[in-house]
Each structure stands twice: as C-alpha cells, then as structure tokens.
Point group: D2
Chain length 89, copies 4
C-alpha cells in the first residue's frame, strides 16, 4: 500500500469517525454506535497491515541487506513488537 492509498483510507476513516461522533450527539442506539466503532477499528487494521507490508518491502529489506547488525536487529525487533501489539488491540 503506497502513501497516497494510506492517506486516502485514513481520511475515509476520519469521515467514518466523524459520523460516529454525530451518532452519539444525536443519541443513536448504543449497539449501533459500538458496531460503527468496530467497523472503524477493522478499517484501521487494514491500513496498518498495508503500512507494514510497505515497510517490509522497503526499510526491512534495506536494513537486512545492509552492513549494520544493530540496525538489522532494531528493525526486526520493531516488527515483533507491532505484531505482539496487534494481538492486543
């Protein structure tokens, strides 16, 4: 997923979130609000998966093919960390 796709999707999600805020302001049914929040989260998951994919195919390849073992280690550790966090949110 390239930068412009990421941006476009994030702006769509921002619109979606504004819609959720409006729903709360207009006293929408709680369960409908929760469902829309879950839809926003699902969309955010797709964006972060797309960003990770892009990252793997650029920075990660560069770091692993590079000469600096510390940089390599750092880049791989970050992936483990976001993976672990992905399990939690």
């Amino acid at each position: 997923m390239n930068e412009s796709t990421t941006l476009r999707r994030l702006k769509t999600i921002e619109g979606h979130l504004k819609g959720v805020i409006r729903m709360v302001e207009e006293d929408a049914y709680c369960i409908d609000v929760i469902r829309q929040i879950q839809a926003v989260e699902s969309a955010l998951n797709k964006v972060s998966a797309g960003i990770l994919d892009e990252h793997l195919n650029s920075c990660v390849i560069t770091a692993i093919q590079g000469d600096d073992p510390k940089e390599r280690e750092r880049v791989l550790k970050e992936i483990s960390e976001v993976f672990e966090m992905a399990n939690k949110v």
Copy 2:
C-alpha cells in the same frame, strides 16, 4: 460512561487520528505510524466498552424487566454479537 464522556473521548480520538494523517503526510517512519494507529484502536476499545457498560445499565435492564420476550431476546442477541465482533477487531 455517560454521553458527554463518550463524546469527549471520541473527539480526542479524532484529534489523534488527524495526527496520524499528518504523520503520513510528513512521511513519518512506518512503524511509528502503525504504533499510533494501534493506540487509536486501543482508545476506541475503551470507548466501546464504556458505551456497552452504559447500555447494559439502561436499555438491557429495561428490556429484561419488560414484558416483551422478543425484545428481551433481541437485546441479548445484540450483546453476543458485539462480543463476538470484539474478538475480531
């Protein structure tokens, strides 16, 4: 969580999301963007948990104490559904 708390939190999350969009526009490091998206999701989880709590203590009590078995069933089914979905997002 009452409505004004929900609204306040959602607006904070909207600001957070705008910050993420800015990060992407300014070409921030991918992993930092992913981490911020995960933070937004974590905040959204807290909001939906708060809304559910409110819902349980109002509509759900009313429906279960009410006379309409279909309404009762509907309300309980919705909770199962958002719980199942919560496991997925």
Copy 3:
C-alpha cells in the same frame, strides 16, 4: 450453546493444540505453526461467545429480574469486563 456443545468444541480445540505441539516437535515451518495457533484462538473465541450467549440467557436474565440490585450490578459489570478483555486477546 449448551454445555455438551461447549465441551465437544473445547475437546476438539485440545486436539488441535496437541497437533500444534507435534508440529513444533517435528520442527514445522514457523509461519505454519503461527497460523495454526491463530486458528486455535479463533476457535476459542467462538466458544467463549457461545458461553456468553448461554450466560446472558440464563444467569443474566435471572439476576436482572431478581430483587437484589447488588447482584444485578455484579452480573452486568462482569459482562463489561469480559467484553473489554475480548478486545485485548
């Protein structure tokens, strides 16, 4: 989901998990192991959603229709708690 369905599913998941252990013992490909672990988690999510559904239609109805406001509060608080936790695992 009644008790016997829950039990049957949990035993199937136990078999699945034993299979994952065997995979690790036989040095299976990491990604295949991760995928199987994710499948086990997905199956566990379905079981807990089924148990919650059962719980809502029995204990929760009883508590909410009962005379004890503290019991009612306790039961609803538990649902909020497992919902919040469901967002995290």
Copy 4:
C-alpha cells in the same frame, strides 16, 4: 524464543486448556470459564509472538540476504498475512 521454550509454553497452555474443560464438566460459573479461555488466548498470543521473533531472526534474514527474489517476496508476504490475522483473533 527457541524451540524448547515454545514447547514448554505450549504444554503449559495445554494443561491450562484441560483445566478449562474440567471447569465446564464441573459446571463452573460461565464468566469464570470465559476469563480462563481469554487467559489461554493471551498465552497463545505470547507464544506466536515468540515464534515470529525467532522466524524473523532466522528464515527471514536468510531469505532477504539470499539470491531468490521470489523467495524473499514469499517470506515477506507471509509476515504481512500473519500480522493481518493477528488483528483478527
């Protein structure tokens, strides 16, 4: 996380799951069962994060430093896939 740590943890989780089955057989309180299932899932998340970490520091480095662009692509695609799935279970 090396293979023996992974195995040891998975066997502990298997014991935990057997405990959950026993709880259901002995008619334990639904919410307690759900909480234990969530604890099992949380432990499984830690194991899969450990396996991914190991994988990144072995196969992934080998593939990315290797000569086969298809193999490289395959290995990176797998990581994106398990990351996307991690968001869902």
